[in-house]
Symmetry: C2
Subunit: 128 residues, 2 copies
């Protein structure tokens, strides 16, 4: 399989796949002409990576998850620890964004949004 095909299969851009090789997440073989050859296991790894990234795991988390995935004698506790850690980061982000949204939507609600210069949004940004 060439890079284009595996890109189409996994939904990852070819550029990203090359990058993943660069940082050592995958190690596809090469043909005589220099082209990368992706074995089925490479494609599986990339699909795994695509899903993990879609769930917001960092590249380093992905590296660790991939290692656990390939380790037949892993402990599911190790996987769970990574996932749980990530889960609380996500929840923190949601909390922060929700606070932003609430503040901002109040300001927007109070703003007439017309031709006049008077603007509660700017007043809100100006000072407490």
């Amino acid at each position: 399989m060439n890079i284009g095909e595996v890109a189409a299969q996994t939904g990852l851009p070819a550029k990203t796949i090359r990058y993943y090789e660069d940082i050592g997440l995958i190690t596809p073989k090469r043909e005589a002409n220099g082209y990368r050859v992706f074995a089925r296991t490479d494609a599986h790894k990339l699909a795994f990576l695509a899903r993990a990234r879609a769930l917001g795991f960092s590249i380093e988390d992905c590296r660790n998850l991939l290692a656990l995935w390939e380790d037949r004698s892993r402990a599911s506790a190790d996987v769970r620890a990574i996932a749980n850690e990530h889960l609380s980061e996500i929840e923190e982000k949601i909390t922060g964004l929700t606070a932003m949204r609430d503040t901002l939507s109040e300001l927007v609600r109070d703003c007439a949004g017309d031709n006049r210069p008077d603007c509660p949004i700017l007043k809100g940004l100006e000072g407490a």
Copy 2:
């Protein structure tokens, strides 16, 4: 006012304040010795920027908001448009993160998290 004082006042790191000067958000004067001198208006601008950044506005949004803030003949509609645009970006992010959280917490919930290798989280990442 020197940079340290205005940093303490606004809560912005000195590095960030220098960066804001670099990209033209503020233009503090200089003393004979080369030190930046922050007038009260500079400090106000920085406080404004700190609040806008805390609400997640991009630097470019901040630049535009700052221009509107200083324009006595602005239309509040212009401010509102920027804020509304940003608001929907925030809401998109919240939606995406919430979806991640839901998927991930399901996987975590189903994972025993013990010494055994069997792991629903990895299975979930492996394929649909």
